[in-house]
């Protein structure tokens, strides 16, 4: 192939010199055009300032064939990066109709070369092989604008624009003084109205990756390249089987299946949406399964912003003919309702619009969204477990935070007489008690499960809500789409709810700060993936979708973090309201059982992988535990019962007991005629024990209802307890937990637990 090299100052044609008809020094754009006009070769290699051609470039040029080639670009290497060029992404709210998306990798990274070989919107300007006629008119002076124009010209001439990474040169890093570039690009866009951005990624990468906008802490949003989410293709209509087979090639790892028609198809869509997660579902009739390019266009629409939930080629396609759904952007309670695909899709599009999720289908007119909707009424569930003086203070604050129509329920232990008296002094509060759980998880769930209002606010009684704080949390639900849970900021707290820039000496100062913050940070929220706050508001539909607080953890750090994780995985936004500031009393002051239990738990980290996997409704935590199975029906008679005494006096014994319990949980389940009695005869509080023990019991994958029965009780007189226990069945003691009062009771080690039942059988 014959070509001429046009070399800018400081450039070195290297090995291209040998194959070139001529090497002509050029300077500005006019001289390039003049040289091109004077040149007789069909192709021209243009070298930018200071560019040095790398070995192998001449081989690429030699291999070029065909008249269709318009522009061939390669890679520019500097010490830090390798640059391939740009894609023209669409720009919705800018003065230009496109946005230059750079394609670059770090120096030495060759992994993307294969994917980047091929068509590209704009090649890197350092070294370019171009058809001569494309250069006859002067290009813009700015290098980048010139490259955009050159590639646009090639397409206008019906020629190709491609990238071959082997066509490489060394070039300096781009000059940060790019004044005038934006103006040059605008002039170009005005001259070429056809120059509209379409894709952020070149063809070779689109099959495996997406460019996604992510929100960084503090609110800034950046685009991050990430793997293409898993694609499931549901094909309905005639010849769906065949179309589904073809659709499996749309993306690596894509699954496709025929789903029949009518109600069956709608059911299949609902079944597919059972677990949402970060994945796509493409719903198409057999005649309209898109090819890879059309699918890429839909993906581009979906990923154009984090709030786009559905994309379709046009409004008609939105009825299920061809629509791409981003499942993670539909909260779990949103169902594809209807007996046909059309109805199901209509319901989804309507739900998305109502939540201010975008439905991208040309011509689609979303129904008018309700604005200024009344703020939600709340069922406030107040967990009373702190010292009475603290509880009285926080409960009063909560009562003052309620509004007409709210439902206020206090939950306390059945034996907490003082708490009951305090609650009784507020006639508007309904009282529920928990007879079993010192952390009150059962009662909390029971009340939350039957909440009558749109919001469920779970509040521990060691959290003080200053005036207006709850109202501001509540207001967030009226603003933020798909908000599942919101909570106030807690100064110095360890989880996502914690803010570090607030210091105060006393409650009065906190109230002042809270007022100032309400003004300075009005309506500021921070979406989060993890939080451990004992004061949070959850929408009823979200709570019903994911279930209550896992009794395995109770309303402790782990319990709340688990609830937040389920909400996030189920597609709900969870946010800290920075305009609402609350105070959490120190455990030493409040003596709150859950807070004390927290002291022994690490703060869980955000589990992004679990969020991406989505929420499986089978892991929903029921609000009311299944009724305990009758041990007599399981084990025959009371004589068959085995009570294992595990006396615990201090933290060392607790850790030993935990190991024993882990073994017991492996050896037995709820159906076994075994009950473990954790006998507290020291300083450790029952709540602390509960918080430590429950995760161990649940560690085997059983729910709390299914694990071996464990009773935690404080025992003042071990002898009396022994007498009573022995009257009800056989008693053994865990090895290492012996006491004088349990002398001559048989000790059982963790390894010998299974032998217990053998003995019973005998």
């Amino acid at each position: 192939m014959r070509f001429t090299v046009l070399a800018r100052p400081g450039s070195d044609p290297g090995e291209l010199r040998a194959g070139a008809s001529a090497v002509i020094a050029v300077g500005d754009a006019a001289s390039v055009a003049a040289a091109a006009r004077a040149c007789e070769d069909p192709f021209i290699v243009m070298l930018g300032r200071g560019v040095r051609v790398r070995a192998g470039a001449s081989r690429v040029v030699g291999a070029v064939t065909g008249e269709a080639l318009g522009v061939l670009g390669g890679t520019e290497h500097d010490a830090r990066t390798r640059r391939f060029g740009w894609m023209l992404a669409s720009a919705q709210a800018g003065p230009l109709p496109f946005e230059l998306t750079p394609l670059a990798v770090t120096a030495g990274d060759m992994s993307a070369d294969t994917a980047l070989r091929g068509p590209l919107d704009v090649v890197a300007p350092g070294m370019v092989l171009a058809a001569r006629e494309l250069l006859i008119e002067p290009l813009p002076d700015d290098d980048v604008a010139a490259a955009v124009e050159l590639c646009a010209r090639a397409r206008a001439f019906g020629r190709t624009v491609t990238c071959n990474p082997a066509f490489a040169c060394d070039a300096a890093a781009p000059d940060a003084d790019d004044r005038g570039r934006a103006a040059a690009l605008r002039a170009l866009a005005e001259r070429r109205p056809e120059l509209i951005g379409a894709h952020r990624l070149p063809v070779g990468i689109r099959r495996t990756a997406v460019d996604r906008a992510v929100r960084l802490p503090g609110g800034r949003r950046e685009r991050v390249r990430t793997a293409l989410p898993q694609l499931t293709v549901l094909v309905h209509g005639c010849c769906a089987e065949l179309a589904a087979r073809r659709a499996r090639d749309l993306a690596p790892g894509a699954t496709a299946r025929a789903i029949g028609e009518g109600a069956r198809a709608a059911d299949a869509l609902r079944a597919e949406m059972r677990v949402r997660g970060d994945r796509y579902v493409l719903l198409a009739d057999a005649a309209n399964v898109p090819d890879a390019a059309r699918l890429a266009a839909l993906v581009e629409e979906i990923e154009s912003a984090a709030f786009v939930a559905v994309a379709a080629p046009d409004t008609e396609a939105l009825n299920g003919r061809c629509a791409l759904l981003a499942l993670a952007r539909f909260p779990q309670h949103v169902e594809a309702a209807g007996t046909t695909i059309e109805a199901a899709m209509t319901s989804l599009a309507g739900a998305a619009s109502a939540m201010r999720r975008a439905v991208r289908a040309p011509g689609f007119v979303p129904p008018a969204a309700a604005h200024g909707a009344p703020q939600r009424r709340a069922t406030i569930v107040f967990a009373a477990g702190s010292a009475p003086e603290i509880m009285r203070l926080t409960l009063t604050a909560i009562v003052e935070s309620t509004r007409p129509g709210d439902e206020l329920v206090a939950v306390c232990a059945a034996s907490a007489e003082t708490a009951r008296r305090i609650v009784a002094s507020f006639p508007q509060i309904r009282l529920e008690t928990d007879a079993v759980d010192p952390l009150l998880a059962g009662a909390l769930n029971r009340v939350a499960g039957v909440a009558a209002r749109e919001l469920v606010v779970l509040v521990a009684d060691d959290v003080l809500f200053p005036s207006g704080a709850l109202e501001r949390v509540r207001a967030a639900f009226a603003r933020i789409p798909a908000l599942g849970a919101a909570f106030p900021a807690v100064p110095g707290a360890p989880g996502g709810e914690g803010v570090l820039d607030v210091n105060y000496a006393d409650i009065a100062q906190l109230r002042t700060l809270a007022e100032r913050r309400a003004h300075e940070r009005a309506r500021d929220t921070e979406p989060l993936d993890v939080a451990v706050t004992p004061a949070l508001a959850v929408t009823r539909e979200a709570l019903h979708a994911v279930g209550g607080i896992d009794p395995a953890f109770g309303p402790t750090r782990r319990g709340i973090a688990d609830l937040v994780l389920r909400l996030r995985a189920a597609g709900y936004t969870v946010a800290r309201c920075d305009d609402a500031l609350v105070h959490r009393f120190d455990t030493a002051v409040s003596r709150n059982a859950a807070a004390a239990a927290d002291a022994h738990q690490p703060v869980p980290a955000a589990d992004l992988a679990a969020i991406a996997r989505g929420f499986d409704p089978s892991s929903r935590v029921p609000f009311v535990a299944a009724p305990p199975r009758d041990p007599r029906s399981l084990a025959g008679s009371a004589d068959a019962q085995v009570a294992i005494a595990v006396a615990v006096a201090d933290a060392v014994e607790l850790e030993r007991a935990v190991r024993f319990l882990a073994a017991a949980a492996r050896a037995f389940d709820a159906s076994a005629p075994v009950r473990i009695h954790l006998l507290l005869d020291g300083d450790i509080a029952p709540a602390e024990i509960a918080a430590r023990v429950r995760p161990v019991l649940a560690g085997g994958g059983r729910t709390m209802d299914e694990t071996v029965a464990v009773r935690i009780e404080r025992v003042g007189d071990l002898g009396a307890w022994r007498a009573q226990a022995e009257s009800q069945g056989r008693l053994v003691v865990a090895a290492g937990h012996e006491r004088d009062a349990l002398a001559d009771v048989r000790a059982v080690g963790a390894n010998a637990l299974r032998d217990l039942l053998v003995a019973v059988a005998r």
Partner: protein, 665 residues
């Protein structure tokens, strides 16, 4: 209410006796897609009207994604917006449904107006190209000459007899008495901007149209009669012609730098009052002569020749001085031009890779290497500051976020990627280890202070000679050569100003200086070549209305005049290029405010020092230096003259050469 203090053009204003702060009175909202910090954004102009008048809130910023996600208030109002948080929320309630529809639709957003009530005044203003009603591309070009004229108008009477006079009045009215010629009192304009006073015959500053009569004004700005490029050559020679660039809001708003885009219009400063100049004593340099040998002087910055800084000045001064001494001295561009040199003298090692290449080339030619270290220990906080400071302005999008991040910066609590204040940090391309190796192994190293020498020894393990040499001032920025000082009144106005003269780049820290000067209300002139255009955009964004940008290296004569007129010269660099310009400024009688990272100590010069990360400290130092300067210029001591005398400096350098074994004699 979220607020911003950026893009100061015209603050919110009212034509009513009391500001209209009832959201129900919102009559029109102009919406325009823009680029802000090179990202897509929306600008809103709000027009609220009642029977008594109107309130205009221009340049309300909105991030399109936040409009949909609502994780915070999407609307960020300009500082000075009347009303309270309830007003902001109520306005948002009225505007956001429309914006949401736009954003959720995915359709490309074009400039348009949301009319909520009949607004004849708004429509007339839009037709007239008024700011706040018309597209920014139109209105900014109209206001540009008036924005330029702010440098002449402080505390002076201004008479406007030119198109867009009422807009000009709105731009200038906070500076002093501004009035509009009766013939220019266009009804639509006056109804929009307010009732500008009627001008008399006389004023200190006259802004007139092409054929207008400026009277005996001391300062005359004449607006164009034609289109771009039409400025007649005779006008160009007789006055300062200023070109107005086609705006690309918001990153390029009002700009007079033709490199930023095509020119839309021009105007001329026909007459301007020069700022007060100090007499700068001449520093004589008498060469001893008699030396011989080829010395190649080379800059450690590859872009040193194209983007001159203090190191460029000093290197050029050294070449001139060595040539006068009889050496065959050349300023080499790179390692390829060192052949035949008997000695290679490198200025600055911040680019470790280049320093290593030059050292290797010198070794190949058998020439010893002398190094002017210009070492501010960049890895000890300089690179960090250069990298993170701009993020404090870019990461958040409202004033509270900027203030919060700046407070963190002062505590050195900002980290961006690997750039953390807790550890030594240099970007990989700086090749800091190579730089240290060059400093360690050079035949002779020149340092400005004992502290710098000690730091080099401690960090690099150098055992060889380190000669203490004061900055060499001569050459292009030689303030002592005052014969060819150029007039600068048309560029900077007649008033005292603070000056930063360095390449416009993050390491020079002009962004923080501009912010602090704006806070203190001190007119600031930033002069120097543009090394980073996006950084220039940030400076313009946050620099306030008093900022005067002179992008591009000023001619030696203009630089000389700037130093002789500047009240304060500031160097807030995280890592600088030597002290030649500071020395020149000190000798010119300017007060100095210098980053405490900069190694610059000259006898008799008492500079205000500050932590470059601390805007409070910077503002204080700048204010104190400014107050001192207004009380009287600095008067350099005889010992300062002695220390900075070029002859003495050159002799110290030559003695340093002589201390190494070489053919140079």
């Amino acid at each position: 209410m979220r607020t911003h203090r950026t893009h100061a053009i015209v603050a919110p204003w009212s034509t009513a006796p009391a500001a209209v702060v009832d959201a129900e009175r919102l009559a029109a909202v102009r919406i325009e897609p823009v680029l802000r910090q090179r990202r897509q954004a929306l600008v809103l102009d709000l027009y609220l009207a009642d029977g008594d008048g109107a309130t205009v809130v221009p340049l309300v910023l909105a991030d399109p994604v936040t409009i949909a996600e609502r994780d915070r208030d999407p609307l960020v109002f300009p500082a000075g917006t009347p009303g309270d948080d309830a007003f902001a929320a109520a306005v948002a309630e009225r505007v956001l449904p429309h914006l949401e529809r736009l954003v959720l639709s995915g359709e490309r957003i074009a400039e348009h107006v949301l009319m909520l009530a009949a607004s004849p005044a708004f429509e007339a203003a839009r037709a007239a190209g008024c700011f706040g009603a018309a597209p920014l591309r139109e209105s900014l070009v109209r206001l540009a000459p008036y924005r330029y004229a702010r440098r002449f108008a402080r505390g002076r009477s201004v008479r406007i007899d030119a198109p867009d006079a009422a807009g000009g009045w709105a731009v200038l009215r906070d500076l002093g008495p501004v009035a509009v010629a009766s013939a220019r009192r266009d009804a639509a304009d006056l109804r929009w901007y307010g009732d500008a006073p009627v001008a008399g015959d006389r004023a200190d500053v006259a802004i007139v149209s092409a054929g207008g009569d400026p009277g005996d004004a001391a300062c005359i700005v004449r607006l164009d009669a034609g289109g771009p490029g039409d400025a007649p050559s005779e006008l160009r020679s007789a006055s300062t012609v200023v070109e107005v660039v086609d705006p690309l809001a918001l990153d390029v708003t009002i700009s007079f730098d033709p490199a930023e885009g095509p020119t839309r219009r021009w105007f001329a400063v026909e007459r301007a009052v020069e700022p007060a100049r100090r007499t700068v004593p001449a520093l004589a340099f008498a060469a001893a002569g008699g030396s011989a040998g080829r010395i190649a002087v080379v800059l450690g910055r590859a872009d040193g020749p194209s983007r001159p800084s203090a190191d460029t000045d000093e290197a050029r001064a050294l070449v001139s001085a060595l040539a006068a001494e009889g050496f065959d001295a050349v300023l080499a561009a790179d390692a390829g031009e060192l052949a035949g040199a008997a000695l290679v003298h490198l200025f600055g090692t911040r680019d470790g890779r280049r320093a290593r290449e030059i050292a290797a080339a010198a070794r190949r030619t058998g020439a010893p290497l002398a190094v002017h270290a210009h070492d501010d220990d960049a890895a000890g906080g300089g690179w960090w500051g250069g990298e993170v400071a701009r993020h404090c302005f870019e990461y958040g999008d409202d004033e509270r976020a900027v203030e919060s991040y700046l407070a963190m910066l002062a505590r050195r609590a900002v980290a961006v990627g690997a750039a953390s204040a807790d550890v030594r940090y240099a970007p990989p391309e700086a090749n800091a280890a190579d730089a240290d190796a060059v400093l360690r192994d050079a035949a002779v190293v020149f340092a400005a202070t004992e502290e710098e020498a000690e730091s080099i020894r401690a960090r690099t393990g150098r055992r060889g000679t380190i000669v203490i040499a004061a900055p060499l001032i001569a050459g292009p920025s030689a303030v002592h050569d005052h014969a060819d000082r150029a007039p600068i009144g048309a560029l900077v106005g007649p008033d005292p100003f603070a000056l930063v003269h360095a390449p416009l780049a993050p390491l020079a820290n002009q962004l923080l200086v501009a912010r602090c000067a704006a806070d203190a209300g001190i007119p600031l002139v930033l002069a120097g070549p543009v090394a980073d255009a996006s950084y220039l955009e940030r400076i313009r964004e946050f620099g306030g209305p008093g900022l005067i940008l002179l992008p591009g290296e000023p001619s030696p004569a203009v630089a000389t005049a700037l130093y002789a007129s500047a009240a304060v010269v500031i160097d807030a660099a995280w890592a600088g290029e030597g002290g030649a310009r500071l020395a020149a400024a000190a000798l010119a009688g300017a007060r100095l405010a210098i980053s405490d990272r900069r190694r610059f100590t000259v006898p008799g010069i008492a500079a205000r020092r500050f932590d470059p990360a601390d805007t409070g400290a910077l503002t204080r130092a700048l204010g104190e230096a400014w107050d001192e300067a207004l009380r009287g210029p600095a008067r350099p001591d005889p010992e300062t003259f002695a220390a900075l005398a070029p002859g003495a400096v050159v002799r110290a350098i030559v003695r340093g050469y002589a201390a190494i074994e070489s053919p140079v004699a």
